[in-house]
């Protein structure tokens, strides 16, 4: 299915990174991301590229799926890089291009080695001491948001296919209005399903 690879899905495994707790993993991601952005220069960018690639290898992630998920970001990174070249020269261009890819890879390593439920459990744990936050609800909200991305893309593809089948492929009205209506209908159905399962009571 074409939507499956758009969001960094969990890849089952037993590497040390899979076993590492959610807290240290997210803290590590934050520290690494900040250093990638803060340390300037093309050379240091290459060092970070080596580090993130090593992390991906250590987590034994499948290179093909990493490539598929990095590709869209790479496109943007190339555009940004070209712009930087024109503005401030090759050093900055190479740095921003590699930095963007490194950030994506680092984030992918975390999503691919962390199950959504573990992430939610951790967030619930962190929110629980805060009296005015309903931790379970925050966790559910995040799960739904994560789910909404591939679900909306799937609906968009279906709507586009339906429009093309009727020869209306480029008509924005034939694309946009049914898409919005179906999104709202899907949201209501999901709300009903959640209510029926007693989730959020």
């Amino acid at each position: 299915m074409r939507t499956m690879n758009l969001i960094g899905l969990y890849q089952p495994g037993n590497s040390p990174l899979h076993r590492l707790g959610v807290g240290p993993k997210l803290a590590g991601l934050a520290v690494l991301s900040i250093s990638i952005v803060a340390v300037r220069g093309a050379l240091s960018a290459l060092v970070f590229a080596a580090i993130t690639a090593a992390l991906a290898g250590w987590a034994r992630l499948r290179w093909r799926s990493l490539w598929r998920q990095t590709r869209p970001v790479l496109l943007i990174a190339i555009v940004v890089g070209a712009f930087q070249w024109w503005l401030s020269g090759p050093d900055r261009a190479v740095e921003s291009l590699i930095d963007l890819v490194c950030l994506t890879l680092a984030a992918l390593v975390v999503t691919a080695t962390t199950q959504v439920n573990d992430m939610l459990d951790a967030i619930v744990r962190w929110c629980e001491p805060v009296p005015w936050i309903d931790a379970e609800r925050v966790a559910l909200l995040l799960a739904l948001a994560i789910r909404a991305v591939p679900a909306s893309i799937e609906l968009a593809h279906e709507t586009k296919d339906a429009a093309s089948a009727r020869g209306l492929g480029n008509n924005p009205r034939a694309l946009l209005s049914p898409f919005v209506i179906r999104m709202v209908a899907r949201a209501q159905l999901t709300g009903d399903a959640l209510a029926a399962r007693g989730i959020g009571d």
Binding site: M1, T3, M4, I7, L9, Y10, P12, Q115, V116, N117, D118, D121, E136, A143, L144, I146, R147, P150, A151, E154, R186, L189, T190, D192, A193, L194, A195, A196, R197, G198, I199, D201
Partner: protein, 231 residues
């Protein structure tokens, strides 16, 4: 067996059409089928049973609990399975979706995981625990949706056209599961061979229950209605 009572329960839109005329029913049989044309009010009728729709007149009682007054309690008693499993599967992988149902009953993550794996094995989905819910076949997806609903052990299962999107083999797989339940089953369907396996069948037409009786007589009544409507 649970006792479901509708006491003059109806749904009407203000200044609009009557969706369901005031209906009085007492449902105690193990397997109850509901048939009727598209837009006749079947789905509205069953959505009253767990207060997904609140009646605008009358009351709905499940084992004596008023569905409109305590929806949370009634939804713990009445599980609901939808036509399109994609809408009710919320989490990315199979085991996580079942775990979502179990969050309330199992606070400890390890126990919850084990319980979810047991549920999946019971539904023939062992080994698929980390599979994306999108990667399952239609039949497996509906079985997973059922597993998620039944994991919390409701006393009644309402299924709104659960096999409409499925092929013959998957229909039979889901039907065998439904009719093998110890719980009370309320099944809305267009598949008349499934209706024949029920103990009692309601026929809904134009916003009211027009027939209530044994399956073969109900199917006969439904066929007559369909013949009239298609003329």
């Amino acid at each position: 067996m649970a006792t479901i009572e509708l006491i003059g329960a109806g749904v009407e839109i203000e200044d609009g059409p009557v969706i369901l005329k005031p209906t009085t029913l007492r449902l105690t049989e193990q397997r109850i089928g509901i048939i009727g044309g598209n837009g006749s009010g079947k789905s509205t009728l069953v959505r009253l049973l767990n207060n997904l729709i609140t009646p605008t007149s009358g009351r709905v009682l499940v084992d004596g609990i008023d569905a409109a007054k305590d929806p949370a309690a009634v939804r713990r008693l009445v599980g609901f399975c939808f036509t399109d499993p994609a809408a009710q599967l919320v989490m990315p992988t199979c085991v996580e979706d079942v775990e979502l149902s179990l969050r309330r009953s199992h606070r400890d993550p390890q126990q919850r995981r084990q319980a979810a794996l047991d549920v999946l094995a019971d539904y023939g989905l062992a080994g698929r625990e980390h599979t994306s819910v999108h990667a399952l076949s239609g039949g497996q997806r509906q079985l997973l949706a059922l597993a998620g609903v039944l994991a919390v052990e409701p006393r009644v299962l309402v299924a709104d056209e659960p096999t409409t999107l499925l092929d013959l083999a998957n229909t039979e797989r889901v039907a065998r599961r439904l009719f093998g339940l110890s719980q009370q089953l309320i099944l809305v369907t267009h598949q008349l061979d499934l209706v024949e396996r029920c103990d009692r069948v309601l026929v809904v037409d134009r916003a009211e229950v027009v027939f209530d009786g044994d399956p073969s007589a109900a199917i006969g009544h439904y066929r007559e209605l369909a013949a009239l409507a298609s003329r």
